[in-house]
């Protein structure tokens, strides 16, 4: 255990780098703050680095009083309290440092494409300044464009920020701490104060049900038991006394830790650490200082931004040089550059991606997965290893009767969530006796006022196994309390670890029977020792060898299932020896406790949730490795793992093989065993290489008896295999692992605030199967993001080519920058979001998880297909519309070539067209705008085809169903409506350069739209026909 302590602080040593970084950041901004405060931060940091040098548990009461300047009877003086409070601050955990809102906001505005757009805006202003310096009456168009670009950046930034903030706020409501109270003795008076006002040296009183308000040294205890599960992961209640029982402060029983709960009894203690200096505070602080790695989707989007930005910048530079070589003016070349950047940047994509992610987040929230960080939505989808807790996540987190053994036979009990299907044989007289013992020898009671609550959901006061037995008998026999009343209890010895049994003596309900009934339950071997007979079919029979053997077999079998086995026996006390006036004395034990009659065994287990085996199966078929990490005993862990399918029915561990072949464990070829059960002790001895080997060669792994710190080691091991690791956890000590994991999943019910803070996601129902539905959503959104990006990238080429042709062939500009913006931010936004609603093409849960480094969001197939095939096709369609508009108005294509210098010459007001007619500059400009609008409409029409083909990547549109995703049609309608409004309504605004387009021009690009659709169907057909072929590899994105 001493080693375990080191492990906690090995985090500290590694973590300091991050802390230092945080600290330097802090000191930059901290100038305005009080110097003293900064000082204390420094001290504090040093403190963190140090090992836990708590020795308060070794001190005597007197020494403690001296050390903390307090009095254990009178408590602290108020003056001293105020002093200490000012010095150490309130007794609260510092919430993890969040970057200020303004920084988050600004980050949205400089990341990704925003920088390209800023560059575009700056170029616009530069272009205007050049023009202005030459000619005072220069047109303001470039300024307007620059302003619009800045607005685009700011608006999309605000939008992304808003979405991000919205999803963070959902969580904020969770982390809000419930104000806690503490009973404290100060100035000799007992009073109730808020727990955050506690200071070191305060004398506090705690009682059952309280949360320990700070780290305290127990001074006096009356049967005080605490639940340390949030700290150590061990859920067994631990008693607390005022005596030192261990050198290690974490192990000794006279120290109780902040945020653990007192289950029963009362205690008085002295506060020895508060706030962040508590053991839990330190861990939480370390977790928050652990850097969070970029989410896979963030990496993917960055990769995608790099591709697009690379294309934009290189094409921009190449054509800048070409333009200069073609003796364009520098100013013109700059304007071309703006156009090329603008055409390349998918301005609306960031918003579409954010919306899609938050839509998925919303959908997941409905399925009980609350996502804190939008990007985590996808991370869940790429998860390849889940390290799951056992208790509460895989299991129901309550002890339940699993098996009974009586009449030399094992009966199975119903362990499902509602247990209403108890089918074992209840006709035997033995069962009648057993049920009586179960009912009577039980101290647990239902909490009052829950008559209307179903039995299984009722709150029980008492220990977990007793609660299980209480509910079990309540379900089978009805009103237990009433039955207990009828069999009045006259004496009782509660369970203790020395006796290992529990005993009570009752009057019987039969008025004719004046005998007392002694009932006893406890550890089976101890119970059996006390018995000389056994009840078979209601008849007492002497306990012979064969019966004892049958008992042993049953006991071993049930124990082997990882179940906690209890033995039950009884004895009717002879009436002559114990008349009804007899007074029983539990101290002197004036009654027999041997030669009892053995009745049966009942075994208990925390059963798996009924949905979990299915979910594990789903994970398995989805290529996700499920690793169980538990603090529980290996045998129990293995049994649960088997019952939920984490260890599948036909796979064996090394130990199983050894047992089967009857050879020593060392001789077994480790590679033969698919499954492995590794205890925390073994894990401690392992080198990282050995752990890697373990993780690679065993597909089914259970880590048992692990400390929460070892979780971190396991997570790191998995991450070394390039896996995307999801980790579930609830305790404070889990928080470093949650933080380290690619996606940390905290439990909504059982989870501590620290765990929820460190996690990326909160499972509202603590149920493992919710993770699986989450994974499904995550995978779907990854596929759909691909579709969205493919859709969005396509028209970028259709926007870019006009500029290139314009520069190279000198034709009048086919599409203006404003029209480009209106495609990107107008017509295309809703259809791209609609793609997020697309259903999966095939069973996405039958695919392997994507490889973090190989399966990219934007792969070259996607880029090439969108850019060089559909994109080019769209451009051709757009140019067809453009040439049509010019031709029918008098400028045939041949006339347009290299016309640009004349076309744009403002003095030339009699430019001749193909028919000899002459055009003024304004008339040409109007025609040019007609061309812009026609090109815009052509792209819009073809984008309708594009959004339809993007519904699937492999299946035919008809397999997917044209009308299953109604939002696509909303999107298409929006495209048309926005285009009509732009063309009709805004025709009058000169800066937008839209004109009212005649109806006939709207249909020019329709043949091309149809070709796009036919071509894509052809592509998909070949992919389906010839999987693995060259075509499949090249054309499937």
């Amino acid at each position: 255990m001493g080693k375990e302590k080191q492990e906690i602080y090995s985090i500290a040593v590694n973590g300091t780098k991050d802390i230092e970084r945080v600290d330097t950041e802090r000191s930059d901004e901290g100038d305005g703050k009080e110097k003293r405060k900064r000082h204390s931060k420094k001290d504090h940091q040093k403190e963190l680095k140090k090992d836990l040098d708590l020795d308060d548990h070794k001190l005597s009461t007197k020494e403690l009083e001296d050390k903390y300047g307090t009095n254990i009877v009178q408590g602290l003086a108020s003056t001293r309290v105020a002093e200490l409070l000012a010095q150490n601050g309130p007794n609260v955990l510092t919430p993890p440092k969040e970057s200020p809102e303004i920084i988050k906001f600004l980050k949205q505005m400089v990341g990704g494409f925003s920088s390209l757009l800023w560059a575009g805006a700056v170029l616009c202003f530069i272009a205007y300044l050049i023009e202005f310096s030459k000619d005072k009456s220069a047109s303001m168009d470039n300024v307007y464009l620059g302003v619009v670009l800045i607005m685009v950046v700011i608006l999309t930034g605000m939008f992304a920020y808003y979405q991000e903030a919205k999803s963070t706020n959902i969580i904020a409501s969770f982390t809000k701490m419930i104000p806690r109270k503490a009973f404290v003795i100060r100035d000799g008076k007992k009073r109730e104060i808020p727990a955050e006002h506690l200071v070191v040296g305060d004398i506090v009183e705690i009682k059952g049900g309280d949360q320990i308000p700070a780290d305290i040294r127990i001074l006096a205890s009356q049967g005080c038991k605490v639940d340390n599960s949030s700290l150590t992961g061990e859920s067994k209640p631990q008693s607390r006394t005022c005596h030192i029982t261990h050198e290690n402060p974490l192990e000794t029983k006279n120290i109780s830790f902040y945020s653990t709960t007192c289950l029963e009894g009362t205690a008085t203690g002295m506060v020895i650490n508060t706030g962040d200096r508590t053991v839990i505070g330190r861990i939480a602080l370390l977790a928050s200082s652990l850097g969070h790695e970029k989410t896979p989707i963030a990496i993917e989007i960055e990769h995608f931004v790099h591709i697009v930005a690379g294309v934009a910048v290189s094409i921009g530079i190449v054509f800048f040089i070409i333009a200069i070589c073609m003796q364009y003016r520098v100013l013109d070349a700059v304007i071309f550059l703006i156009g090329i950047i603008l055409a390349n940047v998918p301005e609306g994509l960031v918003a579409a991606v954010t919306v899609s992610l938050s839509l998925t987040a919303k959908r997941m929230a409905k399925k009980n997965c609350l996502v804190k960080n939008l990007e985590a939505v996808e991370t869940l989808g790429s998860t390849s290893i889940i390290c799951s807790d056992k208790t509460g996540t895989l299991t129901q987190n309550r002890m339940t009767v699993a098996h009974l053994w009586f009449d030399k036979q094992i009966y199975q009990a119903d362990t499902s969530e509602n247990q209403n299907d108890q089918i074992f044989d209840q006709s035997s007289a033995t069962w009648a006796s057993l049920s009586k013992i179960v009912t009577l020898c039980n101290r647990a009671e239902f909490a009052p006022r829950q008559e209307s609550v179903p039995i299984m959901k009722k709150v029980v006061m008492g220990d977990a196994s007793e609660a299980a037995l209480l509910k079990f008998s309540e379900v089978i026999m009805g009103d237990v309390i009433e039955r207990r009343k009828r069999n009045r209890k006259v004496a009782e010895i509660p369970f203790n670890s020395f006796n290992k049994f529990q005993l009570s003596i009752h009057e019987t309900e039969d008025p004719n029977d004046q005998r007392f009934l002694l009932v006893m339950k406890g550890a089976p071997e101890r119970i059996l020792e006390k018995c000389s007979t056994i009840m078979i079919h209601g008849q007492e029979q002497p306990l012979d060898e064969s019966t004892a053997e049958a008992f042993q077999t049953a006991y071993m079998e049930l124990g082997g299932l990882g179940e906690r086995v209890l033995g039950f026996c009884h004895l009717y006390l002879p009436e002559d020896e114990f008349p009804d006036t007899y007074t029983f004395d539990v101290e002197s034990m004036n009654f027999p406790t041997s030669d009892l009659c053995f009745v049966g065994l009942i075994s208990l287990i925390d059963p798996p949730r009924s949905t979990v085996p299915d979910a594990v199966m789903k994970c398995r078929s989805a290529g996700i490795k499920v690793i169980m990490v538990t603090g529980d005993h290996p045998i129990t862990a293995k049994a649960i793992a088997r019952s939920v399918g984490i260890i599948s029915a036909n796979s064996e561990t090394v130990e199983d093989i050894a047992k089967r072949l009857k050879i020593p464990v060392e001789q077994v070829n480790k590679r033969e065993a698919k499954a492995a059960v590794v205890s925390g002790m073994e894990l401690k001895e392992m080198s990282p290489e050995e752990l890697d080997e373990l993780l690679i060669y065993h597909t089914e792994i259970v880590f048992a008896r692990t400390s929460p710190q070892q979780k971190l080691i396991i997570v790191e091991g998995c991450q070394r295999q390039d896996a995307v690791v999801a980790v579930t956890g609830d305790g404070v000590n889990d928080s470093p692992a949650l933080k380290k994991a690619d996606i940390g999943i905290a439990m909504g019910f059982a989870g501590s605030d620290a765990a929820k803070n460190a996690a990326d996601m909160v499972l509202l129902d603590d149920n493992f199967s919710s993770i699986v539905t989450g994974i499904e959503e995550g995978r779907l959104i990854f596929d759909n993001l691909k579709k969205i990006i493919a859709f969005t990238l396509t028209k970028n080429i259709a926007e870019l080519i006009p500029f290139l042709i314009f520069i190279i062939a000198g034709v009048p500009l086919p599409i203006g920058t404003m029209a480009i913006l209106f495609i990107d931010l107008g017509t295309d936004v809703i259809p791209s979001i609609a793609l997020a609603y697309e259903k999966a093409e095939s069973d996405i849960m039958s695919w392997k998880p994507r490889h973090k480094k190989k399966d990219r969001l934007v792969n070259h197939q996607l880029a090439l297909y969108s850019y060089l095939q559909i994109g080019i096709l769209q451009s051709v369609g757009g140019f067809f519309a453009y040439f049509t508009v010019y031709a029918v108005q008098g400028f045939k294509p041949d006339r347009l070539l290299y016309l640009r210098p004349l076309w744009e010459n403002g003095i030339l007001n009699d430019l001749e067209d193909s028919y000899g007619q002459e055009w003024t500059k304004y008339q040409r400009k109007y025609l040019e705008c007609t061309g812009y609008t026609a090109y815009f409409v052509a792209v819009m029409v073809q984008q309708i085809a594009d959004v339809i083909i993007r519904k699937t990547r492999k299946n035919s549109i008809f397999q997917q169903g044209l009308f299953r995703n109604k939002y696509i049609w909303v999107g298409i309608a929006s495209q048309i409506i926005i285009a009509v409004i732009l063309s009709c309504g805004f025709g009058g605004i000169p800066i937008l350069n839209f004109i009212t387009l005649w109806v006939q021009y709207w249909f020019v690009a329709v043949p091309y739209a149809i070709v796009i659709w036919l071509y894509d169907e052809f592509r998909k057909l070949l992919i389906r026909r010839y999987p693995g072929s060259w075509w499949d590899k090249t054309m499937y994105y």
């Binding site: 985090i11 790695e293 067809f880 040439f883 049509t884 045939k892 007001n909 009699d910 007619q917």
Partner: protein, 291 residues
């Protein structure tokens, strides 16, 4: 705890690039083997071939629907524009009397511009038409071309004809001629059967003062109806565009004078806010004279 990203040295990056460009182990050039590249190239060849064919086909069909002699739509040319000759930079007619070079280029442009108007050329190619009437040459079911054009003789420009003119259209004396022409629009019946003429004014009051007197050729700046309608470059081969010459007699020297000329015709609006050349033309006159 955060995995430090392995920083690659420059050499390694270079090495990786080299391997990307040519990988000797797998015989891959830029990540693809030769056959793979061949497939790709072949595919794109076929694909773009198909695209070219598609584009050519659609363009061909579209151009089939477009007539040779008249554009499908003329809605954007409802109002013909006006333009001046000499067409100078910023439409500023600058005449520096002490610098022959400054106006000589204008003169050369005008000489060239007026050459087709020579009486001999006109007499040889074009008809004498009935003034005051449109010269209509309908097709009547059968294409009737080439269409004939009406004569516009250079001599009609009087003092501005530049014929045996030692003053070079008045440029050498500071009394320059500016020629005004109306944009050709096919099948446009300018004037709607009523006579029309061009008038010029100074843009503002001081411009009017500085502008002084001017004479117009033909008289009153008339444009005769017989030059309309225009039947297009292809059919109306020798079409001669009517001109109006304005000779500015005594422009105040050394100031910039803004002149605006417009056509007065029933069916030509001259007040379009956005198109500054619709039925009108504005230009600047500047005579520089050493005093």
């Amino acid at each position: 705890m955060v995995n430090e990203k392995e920083k690659k040295t420059g050499g390694q990056v270079l090495e990786e690039w080299k391997e990307f460009v040519w990988n000797p182990r797998t015989h891959e050039f830029m990540g693809r083997t030769g056959t793979s590249w061949a497939f790709i190239l072949l595919f794109y060849l076929v694909f773009y071939g198909f695209l070219t064919a598609l584009f050519t086909l659609t363009m061909w069909v579209m151009l089939q629907t477009v007539s040779d002699h008249i554009p499908t739509y003329q809605d954007q040319l409802a109002t013909p524009g006006l333009m001046i000759r000499p067409k100078t930079e910023n439409l500023e007619v600058l005449v520096n009397l002490s610098d022959t070079k400054s106006w000589n280029q204008h003169v050369q442009i005008l000489d060239k511009f007026l050459e087709p108007y020579n009486d001999s050329v006109q007499a040889q190619k074009n008809d004498v038409c009935r003034p005051g009437h449109y010269y209509e040459q309908p097709d009547n079911g059968v294409l009737n071309y080439p269409k004939r054009a009406c004569q516009f003789n250079r001599t009609q420009l009087g003092d501005c004809s530049g014929l045996s003119d030692p003053t070079h259209y008045g440029y050498s004396t500071g009394q320059p001629c500016v020629f005004i022409k109306m944009n050709r629009v096919i099948n446009f019946y300018a004037g709607a059967n009523q006579s029309m003429n061009v008038t010029c004014v100074g843009k503002r009051n001081e411009d009017a003062k500085n502008l002084g007197d001017f004479t117009m050729f033909p008289a009153n700046g008339n444009i005769d109806l017989m030059y309309f309608p225009y039947y297009g470059k292809k059919f109306h081969v020798n079409y001669t565009q009517p001109l109006v010459a304005v000779k500015f007699m005594n422009v105040t020297p050394n100031v910039e004078v803004n002149v605006e000329c417009r056509i007065n015709a029933v069916n030509i609006a001259t007040n379009d806010e956005r198109d500054k050349f619709a039925g009108r033309v504005a230009f600047k006159l500047r005579i520089i004279k050493k005093t």
